[in-house]
Symmetry: C2
Subunit: 415 residues, 2 copies
């Protein structure tokens, strides 16, 4: 028995009990976790110091070290996150349908937990707490497989969570962490059909690709975002600039930020230089199409590879297009079905864009940066789904549930 | 360019137009298909005769030849099925949420088609019409890959459908059939990420396993049903016998029929012989656990392999269990999460069974044969999902849709 299968089996054995827990019991467990994180903050910082030392020794970049680092303040923020999950409504048990059939059968469809959820993620150890609390709140067991660089932090955090659960009605075995840092443990996890009800990758494009290509268990694909803002001929220039700047620089490292700015040629003729200067002032490197570079010569040239890249950085492609059709075509070709925006005062063009663009979220006159569980009013999210099955867009608690038909009769048989 | 990728690309190009069709336009197209099937019934029968001849030459069994055969009556039933789909409500465009945020953003979540759906199925050519009409009604394009034994029938049916669509607003290219009968075409279809939004297998356990093991596109797993009926100590004997017989013999070939009868030992002590005789009279071969064979010696012995088999035939396992816990354990081990039933007069046991059994449909005092789109009141179904993501149980039209967030602002940017 391997570690992965062993821990999955341990967690799986709790799913029946997890599914029948009351909301109060789950909330008490979440409070216990939040308290324990604060109380044992020092231990967590110490464990994290081991990861940081290893990271420094192996030449990890400053920005990665920063993502990895835990301070008492960051641990407090993690605990606060758990309390926010506690405050969210519990979707489990919600009646989705209640049907009385002519033959007297009563059919109720109710929300139930998914069962055992696998989460594969990268360096940031706060995901450990986020994912565990969202899964527990929805009555799911969870098998966590974090990045190897955060192994000591994750192990300590899961120890703290399991210890905190020991005094509650939630079985501690419901939260399991895979310690094996090899690629083999991921491969094995992705094929645990019969044990894992689904797997959710949280991380960069390469992690997501690995999961999609190799999983035989159901996957919820999250995150990759090559998002566009299309500035139409009739756009209000000041609004368009505000939205474009916000979509790029307010937080470039996240999936809902803009990677390519599309601009109608008539608008570009008047405003492209102003836009380019505004981005340059904010240290954004611009890569332009030929038409764009004809107006702003200092842009680097952009090619198909650039248009297909999620930079997550201070880099932006700028492409001048002939019309809305050309913008739609570009988005269809290079977009990742995440978040797409049109800035326009032309209602017909806005309608067409919102209707025809195939993405989780489509925007008219607002920044793509709003695609987010909190901004949509759902609270904490487990990720942003870019696939169309099960859940699409920011995934709140209901995305971590399934349903079940409960049929009650008095001897009905089928004719 | 291979046939599979070529046809997928052709169909994919229609998805934007498909998604914006009115319900009236889609219904008109379905009527046109139904009319054409009747009008060209003779051509379809002729094409089917080619498949039947090939089948006979290759030694196909009588029951498989019967599944493959099309008669004017069967084609009429197919056309009637299309009209039934026409009569169903159109889920596309339905508002699932309408949120006004404090910053003035208006966020609407609306149902949209999935896009391009792949359907992989086996011998029965009526699936071609079923699948195409359900996909068209929900604004989806469809890539069909039927069994090689029905190649001529399927090709003719798709020709009739495409011709019928030519005179309507629905682009004929939205319905595509893969003619390549090799296993390679299935493998290729299963990896069409970026073109196929999901794939649905319709067929036996081996087809479903192939799809689950090899697909990199999202899958909706359907159908495999190792279903149980548990007769509790307090069950009403006449009701229990009616339900058990119905679950086994009313139509043994389908996924919601019973494969194993579990019986509480106290009930078995009094009634097992009567039950066994009733099944024997209906030509059901019985395979029993040791405890069951101690009471009915003529049963063959049943082992783990039997318990794990979906017979779809006049064969039934019979197992005597000590209590509800043992029944739950058996179902957890051998069930395929499809449909499970308890017959009991003990409300506490019923509650526990309905709560703890992890299956798409759980029954108290009614036959598992009711797990069906029509019986649940949903109308035609594309299949019965046995996975927990996206859809679970009978999949009506909403299971063929996704959703999209449409966000309208007046210049909002994220702080």
């Amino acid at each position: 028995m391997s570690e992965v299968r062993d821990k999955a089996a341990l967690a799986k054995r709790t799913t029946s009990r997890m599914g029948s827990l009351s909301t109060a019991a789950k909330n008490a467990a979440l409070r216990s976790i939040a308290d324990a994180l604060i109380a044992r903050s020092g231990e967590i910082v110490d464990a994290n110091a081991e990861d940081l030392a290893r990271g420094r020794d192996s030449g990890m970049s400053t920005s990665l070290l920063d993502r990895l680092a835990l301070t008492p303040q960051r641990i407090e923020a993690m605990a606060l996150g758990v309390r926010e999950v506690e405050a969210l409504p519990d979707p489990v048990g919600e009646a989705l349908a209640d049907i009385e059939r002519p033959n007297g059968l009563r059919i109720r469809q109710v929300r139930v937990p998914l069962g055992l959820i696998g989460i594969i993620y990268e360096a940031r150890p706060n995901v450990t707490v986020d994912a565990a609390s969202l899964c527990l709140k929805t009555g799911n067991a969870v098998l966590l497989r974090g990045g190897s660089s955060a192994l000591s932090s994750n192990a300590k955090i899961v120890e703290v969570i399991q210890d905190a659960l020991a005094a509650t009605d939630v079985p501690p075995e419901a939260v399991q962490l895979v310690n094996d840092p090899s690629r083999g443990s991921v491969d094995e996890l992705l094929k645990l059909n019969g044990l894992l009800d689904c797997v959710i990758p949280r991380g960069g494009a390469s992690l997501i690709r690995t999961v999609v290509q190799n999983a035989t268990v159901p996957v919820i694909e999250t995150g990759a975002g090559v998002c566009h803002t299309y500035v139409d001929a009739s756009a209000e220039p000041a609004m368009a600039l505000d939205i474009a700047l916000n979509a790029k620089v307010q937080r470039p490292s996240v999936c809902n930020s803009m990677e390519t700015l599309l601009m109608h040629r008539d608008f570009a003729a008047v405003h492209l230089e102003t836009f380019a200067e505004a981005f340059r002032e904010r240290n954004v490197e611009l890569r332009g199409s030929d038409d764009a570079r004809a107006r702003v010569a200092w842009m680097k040239p952009a090619g198909d590879e650039d248009y297909a890249t999620e930079y997550n950085d201070y880099i932006l492609n700028v492409k001048v297009v002939d019309d809305l059709d050309a913008a739609l075509e570009h988005i269809d070709r290079f977009g990742t079905r995440h978040s797409e925006c049109i800035v326009t005062n032309d209602e017909a063009n806005a309608r067409r864009f919102l209707q025809e663009v195939d993405a989780a979220a489509v925007y008219h006159n607002a920044s793509t940066r709003f695609t987010d569980g909190f901004e949509f009013g759902f609270g904490a999210e487990i990720g942003i789904s870019t696939q169309k099955l099960h859940a699409r867009g920011p995934m709140g608690l209901p995305a971590l549930t399934s349903s079940k038909y409960i049929v009650v009769g008095d001897g009905q048989i089928r004719q």
